[in-house]
């Protein structure tokens, strides 16, 4: 496609009558409700996935690499066989790769802020948190794509779940938790100056938190102080719950802790994000 814009559209003079007709008073429609506004922003998120497919490469490639590397590199050493280990880490990799995607919610928001488009959104008569809720909803689709890639690759490598219905259930739980974690990073996204800083801060926080869990190893082998941390880490509970669902056992306690943590994160960080979005600047 030619990138010389002036020769295409700019050269035609604006026909006064057409302009006049387009500007002549249009009836003001009734304001959209909160849900409709959020869905429109969700649609915007989808369009971005369509126009910038490169962003999806991060989401899909990283988990693929992790899954292959960990299964074949450590599988024999940690679990005796790659098949055993794949069965063990697949739910963990699912959790880890989707959680890492949530950082992008903050990066995207920060990018928006550095451009003028936020002014447009803030000067429209819409439900104030709609741009944020819609964006995070749109990102959930991205999480779902990441989750699907991990599970599909796992199945191709020989992963066989104990309960087939448990697989989408586990994916849903992970996406739900990610939705709440995304609010933490949107808050970070509003506090940091540049998109890169958001990305670095996000990964610096997520790396230790995901590795210091039961994603890769059984915590029994760990020193007691580390095991104590791993046991309270909500990510461990998310992994245990997902593992359980895929194996066909429902760990209600872990699911409860995951949902409780998700609710708490959303309750604190969603309003904080909204407040910052409204007042920053």
């Amino acid at each position: 496609m030619s990138a010389i814009p002036t020769t295409v559209a700019g050269s035609e003079p604006l026909a006064d009558q057409v302009l006049g007709a387009a500007l002549s008073s249009t009836a003001r429609p009734t304001r959209p409700g909160a849900v409709a506004a959020c869905l429109t922003f969700g649609w915007r998120g989808m369009l971005k996935i369509k126009h910038i497919p490169e962003q999806l490469i991060d989401v899909t490639l990283t988990p693929v690499l992790f899954l292959l590397m960990f299964t074949y590199l450590f599988g024999g050493a940690i679990a005796g066989s790659t098949g055993e280990y794949l069965h063990f880490i697949l739910p963990g990799i699912l959790v880890m790769s989707v959680l890492f995607t949530t950082v992008y919610s903050g990066v995207t928001l920060n990018t928006d802020l550095t451009r003028g488009v936020v002014d447009r959104f803030r000067s429209l008569p819409i439900w104030r948190p709609a741009p944020l809720v819609g964006a995070v909803l749109g990102d959930s689709v991205r999480y779902l794509i990441g989750a699907t890639v991990v599970v599909a690759l796992g199945l191709a490598l020989g992963f066989r779940p104990g309960s087939w219905i448990g697989v989408p259930a586990a994916m849903l739980l992970v996406v739900l938790f990610s939705f709440s974690l995304a609010w933490v990073f949107t808050t970070v996204g509003l506090l940091m100056r540049a998109p890169n800083a958001v990305m670095n801060a996000g990964f610096m926080a997520l790396f230790p938190i995901t590795f210091l869990s039961n994603v890769f190893v059984q915590p029994d082998t760990l020193p007691s102080w580390l095991k104590a941390f791993v046991d309270v880490n909500p990510i461990s509970h998310l992994v245990t719950a997902s593992r359980g669902l895929m194996d066909g056992t429902i760990h209600l306690g872990d699911i409860g802790i995951v949902l409780g943590t998700a609710a708490a994160l959303t309750a604190v960080f969603a309003p904080l994000t909204t407040h910052l979005y409204r007042t920053r600047a």
Partner: protein
């Protein structure tokens, strides 16, 4: 009836008082210009009036609604075209307009129709399906204005709508603003160019260091400056010394010799007659003229006349405004 009534608006960023007691009264249906250099407080004032910034002091009513306590009502009636084009670069032109239409409450079909109508009217029909990041500055600006009038606003804020545009794009934007005003929309226009305010505005407030330092019609402002500039270009550079002498006599003013050896300019009264007389005098003296033009006083000259010093860019305040 007044579309904008602001009294004593104040906004500080850190220790910088970006807006320091601005008073404005803009009649409904008018095009009102705010003229000032970068960092004078124009953008901050507009952002407060458009409810994007909360003032630290003072009050303002926009279309009868208080900008703080009734911000939502104000948002329902105004639209803003900011200094950074408020469009989404990662979407196409059409998607941008459909999105804004949906957010204003149009159905999908209505939003699509309105988007097509505006794209055609703004000369963006062929570029509708291209990503905005590939648009030229002029196209982006037109799309931005189109997004602001998906529903015709009663009041439109335009923050330096032609800064950085080539002359043709600038004329297109001016056409749009004139048409909009012709249909009854009140326009508050920020600009650094007296020329632009002169072309479009019925009234002008000159802003400096966060304060309104002069107010009036473009004519009154120019008269207060008391001078324009006559530029003359000769066919034969050899005749320049003669031309200099004739002009100095006819206009009773100092003559400036330009870098171009055939060009010279002289200060003259703002009315066209003395300048016309001076040009006629050149012809009568047998000096051949390639062309001449009557320049308006620049922002610098207005500032010089009003404050005794040229318009200076306040870098510190500018940084704050962009950050804001």
């Amino acid at each position: 009836m007044l579309a904008i009534e602001a009294s004593d608006l104040v906004k500080s960023f850190g220790s910088t008082r970006a807006v320091d007691g601005v008073n404005l009264a803009v009649r409904s249906g008018a095009v009102y210009g705010m003229l000032g250099p970068n960092g004078a407080g124009k953008t901050t004032t507009i952002r407060m009036l458009a409810t994007l910034l909360r003032p630290d002091g003072g009050t303002a009513r926009v279309l009868g609604h208080d900008i703080v306590t009734e911000a939502d009502a104000v948002r329902g009636l105004v639209s803003l075209t900011g200094q950074l084009a408020s469009v989404d670069e990662d979407l196409t032109g059409r998607e941008n307009l459909v999105m804004v239409g949906r957010l204003l409450g149009y159905s999908r079909g209505q939003a699509r129709m309105r988007a097509s109508e505006l794209l055609e009217a703004f000369g963006l029909g062929d570029a509708a399906g291209r990503l905005v990041k590939n648009y030229s500055g002029g196209m982006r600006r037109r799309l931005d204005i189109a997004a602001s009038i998906v529903v015709t606003p009663e009041l439109m804020f335009l923050d330096e709508p032609t800064t950085g545009l080539d002359p043709r794009s600038r004329n297109q934007v001016w056409d749009i603003i004139r048409t909009l005003a012709g249909q009854g929309t009140t326009v508050l226009l920020c600009t650094q160019y007296l020329d632009e305010a002169d072309q479009l505005a019925d009234g002008i407030a000159v802003i400096d260091h966060g304060k309104v330092i002069a107010e009036g019609t473009p004519g009154q402002l120019k008269a207060s400056v008391g001078r324009g500039t006559l530029h003359v270009r000769l066919l034969d550079p050899e005749q320049r010394p003669d031309a200099e002498r004739v002009l100095a006599q006819a206009l009773n003013a100092g003559v400036h010799l330009e870098a171009d050896p055939a060009a010279l300019s002289a200060a003259c009264p703002p009315e066209p007659e003395p300048a016309a007389e001076a040009v006629a005098e050149l012809s009568r003296s047998g000096i051949a003229i390639a062309g001449f033009s009557l320049g308006q006083p620049s922002l610098d000259e207005v500032f010089l006349a009003l404050t005794g010093r040229p318009a200076e860019e306040d870098q510190a305040a500018e940084g704050e405004e962009i950050a804001a």
